[in-house]
């Protein structure tokens, strides 16, 4: 089971969690994220915010597209127009079979702005360390 999981809020007010409710991993079926995308498309919904959680304790948030943040600074900030989640896995071939202990394994959330710029937030599956990238 992944230690780093997504949490996403939709424009209908729902907040959905990877590995909860209808978005648990089911062997042989679409991944929780792929099923979320189907759910969003089938119901003409949009993602308004996305976050990652490590071990169900620490939460890492990207800027939200929500319209009523508590702090004024957040309401002044540019709003992303879309969000994405994926996992990145890398490892050496010559080191043979790669397992949880040896692979570089990150969960990533991404926010895209109207001008095409993107912010990515990477969280290490092994230890919960976090990095951010700005992609122009």
């Amino acid at each position: 089971m992944q230690k780093v999981r997504w949490i996403t809020s939709l424009n209908n007010g729902e907040t959905l969690y990877e590995e909860r409710g209808n978005f648990k991993t089911i062997k042989g079926e679409l991944s929780p994220w792929q099923r979320l995308l189907v759910y969003i498309q089938d119901n003409s919904l949009e993602i308004t915010s996305i976050a990652l959680t490590y071990d169900e304790r620490t939460r890492f948030n990207l800027p939200s597209a929500g319209k009523s943040p508590k702090f004024h600074a957040f309401s002044l900030a540019a709003k992303p127009v879309s969000f994405l989640f994926f996992r990145k896995l890398g490892g050496n071939v010559i080191d043979g079979q790669i397992d949880r202990e040896t692979a570089d394994h990150f969960a990533v959330i991404e926010a895209t702005y109207e001008d095409g710029n993107k912010i990515q937030l990477w969280v290490d599956e092994a230890n919960g360390n976090c990095w951010t990238l700005i992609i122009k």
Partner: protein, 189 residues
């Protein structure tokens, strides 16, 4: 949990275990040397105890011949039948098979494959020229360092994904090349 399994293909496939090495060797077979400036005539899986794990499995060797000497500028290689354009190779004739699997059905994008010095992924391997191509490609990629990586095809949602890759290496100087690792990276969701 997602897993990679690397296999050296042959009459019987050899899974490259956690402590094994993929060995590029000469025409003399396991542990034989490749002449400087030439490419591998054989390829093997070497265990941590220095044994030939692929002995008896007739590994598929892919030997780089030219970057653009084939039909319409295609790259050429020899995989046992003489020199051919590399887009004629079958999946089963590629030396390396990489399987990525996950419990759930995931899509793969942005998969890349490259050689580096084993320490810094942007650095080229030391003393080795490395060529690779995915099955179906028309040309080899001189994939040394992450910036020069071979791009692998995207793959639609499934629980298991296979990549078939031609690999060939040439020493630039005499001696064992230890600052030489192959790495794969991919995005899945």
């Amino acid at each position: 949990m997602a897993t990679f399994i690397f296999t050296l293909q042959g009459s019987t496939p050899t899974v490259i275990g956690a402590t094994d090495r993929l060995q590029f060797a000469g025409a003399g077979g396991f542990d034989s040397k490749v002449t400087v400036g030439e490419y591998n005539d054989s390829v093997h899986v070497k265990s941590s105890a220095d044994a030939d794990d692929s002995s008896g499995n007739t590994p598929e060797n892919n030997k780089f011949v030219s970057a653009a000497g084939g039909t319409g500028g295609d790259s050429q290689a020899d995989w046992g039948d003489g020199t051919e354009d590399i887009d004629a190779i079958t999946d089963a004739e590629c030396s390396l098979k990489i399987n990525f699997a996950d419990a759930s059905s995931v899509a793969i994008t942005d998969a890349i494959f490259y050689a580096y010095d084993g320490t810094t992924t942007t650095a080229v391997p030391t003393g080795v020229t490395f060529q690779c191509a995915e099955s179906g490609d028309t040309n080899f990629t001189n994939a040394e360092g992450s910036a020069a990586a071979l791009t692998l095809a995207d793959s639609a949602a499934a629980t298991s994904h296979d990549y078939y890759i031609l690999v060939s290496a040439s020493p630039e100087s005499v001696g064992l090349k230890s600052a030489f690792a192959l790495r794969v990276e991919l995005t899945y969701s």
